[in-house]
Structures are given as C-alpha cells and as structure tokens.
C-alpha cells in the first residue's frame, strides 16, 4: 500500500513507473542485470524463496493458533480472573501473567491475532475489489475517467494515511469494524494505479489488438485476458497491503483510536507500556504483543518479496 513496504524493486515496468511518478521513455523496459554466475543466481533465488517459505510457515502457524485460540488457553480474552488479580507475573495458570485489569495476557495475545488477521485480510479484500474496479474503469474508459481517477488517487495519497485513517475512525467511533472499513476505503489508490497501469500496457500489446480485430467482445478480453495478467502484481500488492494493514491497526489500537479494551488487539496490549513502570517492571504485558506484530509483519513481507520475485524473474536475469 505504501512506499515503505515496496522496497528493492525499482521501476522495471511502466506500471510501477506510474506508481513512483517517474517518467520512463515509452517503450523502454529497463532490465536490471547483475553480473552473477548462474549458480550464484540460483542460490540467491533459493535463499529468497526459503525466506518466503519461512514466512508462509509462520503466518500459517499464527492463523492456526488464532483459529484454535479457545483450545490453546482456558481463559476467555476478556475474562477477569479475580483469584489471581491484576498485574501478576507469569505463573502456571497464566503463562504470560495478567494485565492491568486482571485478564490473561496469553489469551489476549491469541485473540489479538484474530483481530490483526481479520483487519489485515478484511481491509485488503475491500480495497482490492474497489481498487481493481476503479483501475479497470480508468484504464478501459480512458480520457476523463482516467484523469479524474488519477487526480483522486493523488489527493488521497497526498494526505498521510495514518492521519486520514485516524480522523475517519474517530468520526465512525473506534471499533474493529470501523478500522476495517476505513483502511479499506482509503487503501485502494495504489491498487487502482497498478491495475490501470497494467491495463494500459496490455491495451497496447499486439495480442490484444489481434483479439480486437477478430471481434472478441470487450468484456471477454477484460476478464479472460487482462485479469489473469494482473493477478500476479495484485497478489504482491495485496500481500504487502496485509502487512501495512496490520501495522496500521496496531498503531491505531496503541493510540487508543482503533480497537479499544476490553476487546483484545496487539496494539492495545502495548498501550500501557508508555508508563515507565509497565515498560520496565511488567515486560510480560507488552513484549509478547510487540514480538507478535513484528513477526507477523516480517513474515508477510518475506512472502511478498518471494511472490514478487516469483512472478517477475526479470530482476534476476543476467545482464
């Protein structure tokens, strides 16, 4: 969704040139070549893929743990254990201790995973659909629709995303639903641009011109020929988008503007840590959540990296 999560890949297609607002001479497709021996290239690719596999394993593990949360802990995430009390250190009953209200931290970490994953996938699903439709419309209808859409996306991208999201979540009232809706409604610009860009490239290609000449209807061209080509980059964008959405949700909840207690979210598990006491003497309350967020985002980023390399092997081609 943002520049931060799309590093390394520099401008090898017109679509991404559009994204980065750098003009590229028409028709020129720069190829990044590296002076490496074939063996080294294979090793490098494998290494990359290995990281991606690790990422997949980790994310799957987190998803399974989130789904099976009730089996992995006897405590409901909002249940206050009056026997043990608040701010207690880890013990056999509470493997990560209890939080400031007396709830089990491990349970809240587990159910917090649900929050993050639901927001991540939910918001991305929403903006993938919106972005694709709008991008298709812009690329297809061209001229005014296209220019209008470009200016619209420029507008949304001009305002820092966190700021925009904070404001609109506040308007709707902080909750998991409003977070999903707002991230979804504000996250489509990059998707739309990508889709539009790919569409423009493909539109000029001879293959499509031929189909046109034959008389294949537009709709068929769109869905049968263009969409499959877009799927690849879209998946990459979606994956990085999930990472960004998870970071956004945890930031919002940390600030108290997203998912609020008593609902559990990794972000709001860390809110208390601004107090020096909690920061230093009650690490079991916030460190697990911090690690969880980082691990999840890291793994998703690895997956995204791997996918990107997989769908566009040009980057590792010999020069």
């Amino acid at each position: 969704m943002t520049a931060r999560n799309d590093p390394d890949r520099l401008l090898t297609s017109m679509a991404e040139a559009e994204m980065a607002k750098l003009p590229v001479a028409p028709g020129a497709v720069q190829v990044v070549g590296e002076h490496v021996s074939p063996r080294r290239a294979a090793v490098k690719r494998f290494l990359r893929y290995r990281l991606a596999i690790v990422g997949v394993v980790v994310v799957l593990a987190i998803m399974i743990m989130a789904a099976l949360a009730p089996l992995l802990t006897p405590w409901p995430p909002n249940w206050i254990d009056f026997q043990t009390g608040a701010r207690q250190p880890p013990s056999p009953e509470h493997v990560l201790g209890t939080d400031v209200s007396g709830r089990d931290v491990w349970a809240r970490v587990l159910y917090g995973a649900r929050t993050s994953l639901i927001v991540g996938f939910g918001a991305v699903a929403i903006y993938l659909v919106i972005g694709t439709l709008l991008g298709l419309a812009a690329g297809y209808y061209g001229r005014f629709v296209d220019q209008g859409l470009m200016r619209f996306t420029d507008t949304i991208m001009a305002i820092p995303p966190l700021l925009l999201i904070i404001v609109f979540v506040a308007v709707l009232g902080p909750s998991i639903i409003s977070v999903i809706i707002v991230i979804g409604l504000l996250g489509w610009p990059v998707t739309a641009r990508l889709v539009r860009g790919q569409l423009l490239v493909l539109r000029e290609s001879e293959f499509i011109t031929a189909a046109h000449v034959i008389g294949v209807p537009d709709r068929t061209i769109l869905f049968r020929h263009m969409l499959p080509n877009i799927l690849g980059p879209l998946t990459v964008v979606a994956t990085f988008g999930v990472a960004t959405a998870v970071l956004l949700e945890s930031s919002l909840s940390f600030l108290g503007l997203g998912v609020r207690p008593p609902e559990a979210s990794w972000g709001n598990l860390i809110t208390e840590a601004v107090s020096p006491v909690v920061l230093t003497t009650l690490p079991w309350q916030w460190v697990p959540a911090a690690i969880a967020i980082t691990m999840t985002v890291l793994s998703v980023n690895f997956i995204g990296d791997g996918l990107r390399d997989a769908i566009d092997p040009r980057i590792t081609k010999n020069g």
Binding site: A3, E34, R151, T155, I159, L163
Partner: protein, 325 residues
Amino acid sequence: MGAYILRRILISIPVLIGITIIGFIALKLTPGDPLLTSVNPEALANMMTHPEVLEAERRRLGFDQPVFPHQYLRWLANVVQGDLGYSISSHRPIVAEIGARLPQTLLLMIVSLTLAVLIGVPIGIITAVRQYSKLDYGLNAAAILLASTPVFVFALIAIYVFAVNLHWLPTGQLHTVGRNDALDLAHHLILPAAVLAIINAAPLVRYTRASMLEVLNAEYVTTARAKGLSNRLVIVRHAFRNGLIPVITIVALLIPEAVAGAVITEQIFAWNGMGQLAVKAAGARDPSMMMGIILITGVAVLTANIIADIGYAIADPRVAYDRAK
C-alpha cells in the same frame, strides 16, 4: 523548465481541491452542533440563551442550505481567508492551535528526514557497492526488520534503553520543566528524531541500494570501467549522480509516511506538535480540529512534492522535456 513547473502546479490544483473536500467531509460527518465549531465561543455564549438568535445565526451561516455545493463553498471561502473554525475542547481558534504546534512538528520532521537521508543513503550505497558481502546481507536484514517493526515498539525500546536505563536522554517532552533554551530543546529532540530517522532510513537504504545496483550494472559504467577508470572514480562520477536521482523522488514519497510516523512518535514522546494534536482531536472527536489538521498536512505534503519534482527536474533535465503521462 518553467513550463514544467507550471504544469506540475496546475496538476496539483485539483488535488488541492480534493484535499479540501476530504477535510470538509471530515468536518461534516462528525456528529455535533456545527455552530460550536464555527462561531466565536464568546459570541456564542451570548446567544445561547436565546434560541431565536441561534436560529438566525444558523441561517446566516448557511447551515440550512444543502451541503454541496453551498455549504462547501462558504466554508472554502472562510478557509481561504484563514478562518478554520474553533476547537470544541479548547474553545480557541484552530489556526491558533495548529500554529502553536506547527513549528515543533516541522523541526522534528526536518531533522529526522535529514538524518534519515544521511544515514540511509550512504548505507544503501555501501551495500550496493559491496553486494553479496556479509555486510550487505546484515544491513539488508536490519532494514527489513526495521520496516516490519511498528514505530511505537521501536520508540518504546529506545526510551527503555536510552532514557530509563542509561539516563542519557530525557523520556520526552519539549523541554525540561522550567527551561526554554535551544540547547535543552536539542537534547530533547535527539531521541524522537533518531527514532524517526532510523525507521525512515530503512526503506531509503533499500531504494538507494536498488537504484545504485541498477546504475552500477548499466552499460556506461561497464564502459567506464573498461576504459580503465578506477572503481572509486566510476562510483563517484557516474553511478552516484545517476543513481541518486530516483532517491529524491523516494524521499518525497516518504514524506507522507514520515508524517504518519511522526504522529505516533509525538504521542509517545509527548512532543507538543501537530501529531499529538491530531491524536487528541481524534480522541475528543473535535471535528474542526481534525479538518484543520488534514488541510494543513495535505497542503504541506503537496508543496513538498512539488518542490521534490522541481529538484528532480534540476537533477535530471530529461524529465522536464518528457511529455507527462
């Protein structure tokens, strides 16, 4: 060149209008009496006891008219004249509230972005030049780890290590209580600026690296090497200049992201800037404050982008002569 600049500015106008529309939407969607945010609280206090005066005021301000375009245009006219309304929490004009905090945020952003460039770009160059070395992998891993760590986690760890444990730096705020001098401010600036700088340096490292790699492997570099120029000269004279051009654009792209990071950083370090104001406004659901912040930030980012575009055109004159897509 002049035409290019003019074109960039012209393209920005619809974006500017779009930003005002978004701000206006934020203002209108938040529940609450619009009178509270539009009228001077002192004047309003006088009117509160007379409902018919309140009604007349509502009519005078056009709140009975359709939202688009009438109310929007009136509101826009006010904004252009500098009237952004009043905050429901502090009863003071928004312009005053934002104005009081804008310098602090600017200071933080400028210092941290400069530091980010100073850290990120050299490291990116180094890793490109020393590709495949252990250093390359190590720094790359650090960069991707930093990009995956939430800003607030990083900030909390930094506070834990440098402020709470080592006592080298203060835990936050603009000044030590009772002091007002620049040296004290600088002391308090170090940690938040460093946190933001390091977080923003991570993507810069990777972009610079990729850009430099691309250039280093380009044909004219091979040619230069073949001519016998020393590696150093090659890097400095050719690769450098060309490889750094995209970096300017990436820095411009980073600015919205950096502002977002600043929001969280300001909150954690109790840095009295616009980011903290935004969080407070959102918490209190203060509509005109949120609108004002969107407007000002959007305009600032737009301006920064235009400046970056101009800088880019200066660095690479080809840009100015390309037909914009």
